[in-house]
């Protein structure tokens, strides 16, 4: 049976070239980079080189790069770390995020709201998952300390106008009295974007940015937080001077080396890869939308080159995922039934769609291994599976949610 992996937004395979440069650090180069001997120094040098390489891609200084364990930690460090550091110096601090952020942003901000008295403004998105720049303009106040908007959404692939939002924040900052001119700080979660979009900080106008190794053909357990010079964070853990004391603990050296290499490769190849993926993505979308009672979630053009998210009316996502799995196709669902929470995808609901539509959403995320035959295979096996699940379903979703 053919095996078609369409879950690259969840995890990517490790690039062999990244694996290659990692291996010595799982083997003979095992010294602690903090050790004061030549073996330790060799490891430290390699790590510094990795930091330089990441900094170069982002167009930043090496001392602005903090290595973490991944996207979730980077988001937590950015949001909690900054909020805790700024709390004492401003009354009634406010945070702004969008309603479709990753849980590592939403839950962290909710914690600050519920336990530490921050006020939070949630920017709703339009029907295609876009933040409206004017909404951000209206939401900014002199109390706003932090804005966090993701670069591209993990479920529906919508790409936000980060540079435009960044400029709005810069302009707002300039309008404040001098004492406040550092605020608000702008953070973006670029985990899903890092393999395919522009990452130059200067062009994005962001102050903090999150990257993750395992979404860009690097290793799991390695991530990056870019923090602009001058921004103070409070660490989440204590007990060492690593990563400027912001992330104490012996570094995940092999992971860091692999992440830096993977990022370099992904960024070098990103435009060619996007040109290759977009037609495959659009072929899959067009093919699925030929089926009755289906709906594309997200933006038709401002979307990640590898993301396809479809709601299949009248059926529940998990059931379809399992039927696809039996045919060798690995996809993902925002359906509640695969998660612990039972609530369906907050992202699909944020688009203004009802629960039953959210329950039937499936994400196919393409990647380097995806070829046209894979798309043809999915389009061949999918219709009878949808047909079968619909035939045992008593639900008939209102046509206003899928008639195009």
């Amino acid at each position: 049976m053919r095996s078609v992996y369409l879950d690259h937004a969840a995890a990517t395979p490790l690039d062999l070239r990244a694996r290659e440069v990692m291996l010595p650090f799982l083997d003979e180069l095992y010294s602690n980079p903090s050790s004061f001997h030549s073996a330790g120094k060799a490891v430290k040098d390699a790590m510094d080189e990795a930091r330089q390489s990441v900094a170069k891609i982002l167009g930043t200084r090496a001392d602005e790069i903090i290595f973490t364990s991944g996207g979730t930690e980077s988001n937590n460090l950015a949001i909690l770390g900054f909020s805790h550091a700024i709390k004492a110096s401003i009354k009634n601090p406010q945070i702004i995020i969008s309603t479709i952020e990753h849980p590592s942003v939403i839950e962290t901000v909710k914690y600050l709201q519920e336990k530490e008295g921050f006020s939070v403004t949630y920017l709703s998105v339009d029907a295609r998952g876009m933040v409206r720049p004017d909404d951000l303009k209206d939401a900014l106040t002199p109390q706003t300390v932090l804005v966090s908007i993701m670069y591209a959404n993990n479920e529906i692939g919508t790409i936000q106008p980060i540079a435009e939002l960044g400029k709005i924040i810069q302009k707002f900052r300039a309008s404040l009295p001098m004492s406040n001119c550092q605020l608000p700080v702008f953070h973006t979660d670029a985990c899903q974007a890092s393999g395919v979009l522009e990452l130059n900080i200067e062009k994005l106008h962001v102050d903090m940015l999150t990257l993750n190794g395992s979404k860009i053909y690097g290793p799991k357990g390695a991530g990056v937080l870019y923090v602009k010079r001058g921004i103070k964070l409070q660490p989440l853990q204590f007990g060492g001077s690593q990563e400027k004391t912001l992330r104490p603990g012996t570094e995940n050296v092999a992971g860091i080396i692999g992440l830096a290499k993977a990022l370099e490769l992904a960024q070098t190849e990103r435009q060619a890869e996007a040109r290759r993926l977009v037609p495959l993505r659009d072929k899959l979308i067009a093919g699925i939308l030929k089926l009755p009672k289906t709906r594309l979630n997200g933006h038709p053009t401002e979307r990640l080159p590898n993301n396809v998210n479809i709601s299949f009316m009248d059926i529940e996502g998990e059931a379809l995922i399992l039927y696809l799995d039996a045919q060798g196709v690995y996809a993902s669902t925002g359906s509640a039934c695969t998660s612990a929470s039972l609530e369906p995808s907050h992202v699909i609901l944020a688009l203004g769609l009802p629960y039953e539509v959210a329950h039937g959403s499936i994400r196919f995320s393409l990647g380097r291994s995806t070829i046209e035959e894979d798309i043809d295979y999915v389009l061949k096996i999918l219709p009878p599976l949808v047909e079968k699940l619909r035939s045992i379903s008593p639900v008939r979703v209102d046509e206003k949610y899928y008639v195009r």
Partner: protein
């Protein structure tokens, strides 16, 4: 009950048991055509698509023996919802059909045992057919005019959509649920029907105090 289920040869782990898999990929007795009114004499329903599961059953019950002759169903739901409904339809119609008296006593655990187990987080939310079945049995007695045999669920209905009662919430709290989210994980109460949540919160407080002071 485990988080995931391993196949008998231990070679492959899957989210569901072999029996669940079999019923999921080859569901039995689901309704694949428009029913003629002569093909059933009782209808039951539970859930809503908003809460992620909707189940409808059409039963044909022999009025003389009160045994279930046919059990047809349709469901909107995940793998275990489909499999548990399919399994229930088999249990109800095997061996000449189950009597309504016995059918009324069926508990989710009986269905789960026949399925060879379900992942813990799936159990409470996806085994709904005992509720749809009792709904249909009442419908049958209503249709034949035996009103004295209609059994109103003795507990108080909190969420008419998911048919969650105060007893379900009580057992969820006894089962260790402390918060509304945890009770939802066990019962699905209020998912897609949030207007009932204040009442649920009150009950959680009540039962927590009652049992754990």
């Amino acid at each position: 009950m485990s988080a995931d289920v391993t196949s008998h040869d231990k070679k492959q782990s899957w989210f569901y048991s072999d029996m669940v898999k079999q019923h999921f990929f080859h569901p039995q007795n689901f309704l694949d055509h428009d029913l003629d009114p002569s093909e059933y004499n009782a209808i039951g329903k539970v859930g809503s698509p908003a809460c992620g599961d909707e189940l409808r059953v059409w039963l044909l019950i022999d009025p003389q023996t009160e045994r279930i002759q046919r059990f047809r169903w349709k469901t909107f739901g995940c793998g275990s919802a489909i499999a548990s409904t399919s399994m229930t339809s088999v249990m109800m119609t095997e061996n000449g059909g189950m009597t309504l008296t016995k059918a009324r006593e069926i508990k989710p655990i009986d269905i789960m045992n026949r399925l060879g187990g379900l992942p813990a987080r799936k159990f409470h939310c996806s085994v709904l057919c005992d509720k749809a079945l009792r709904d249909a049995i009442n419908d049958f007695y209503r249709r034949v005019g035996k009103f004295d045999k209609i059994v109103a669920e003795s507990a108080r209905m909190i969420d008419p959509v998911t048919k969650v009662t105060d007893r379900d919430i009580e057992s969820a709290v006894l089962d260790g649920a402390q918060t509304i989210e945890q009770v939802q994980t066990k019962t699905k109460v209020g998912i897609g029907n949030p207007s009932v949540l204040p009442a649920v919160e009150e009950l959680i407080r009540f039962y927590k105090e009652k049992y754990f002071g």
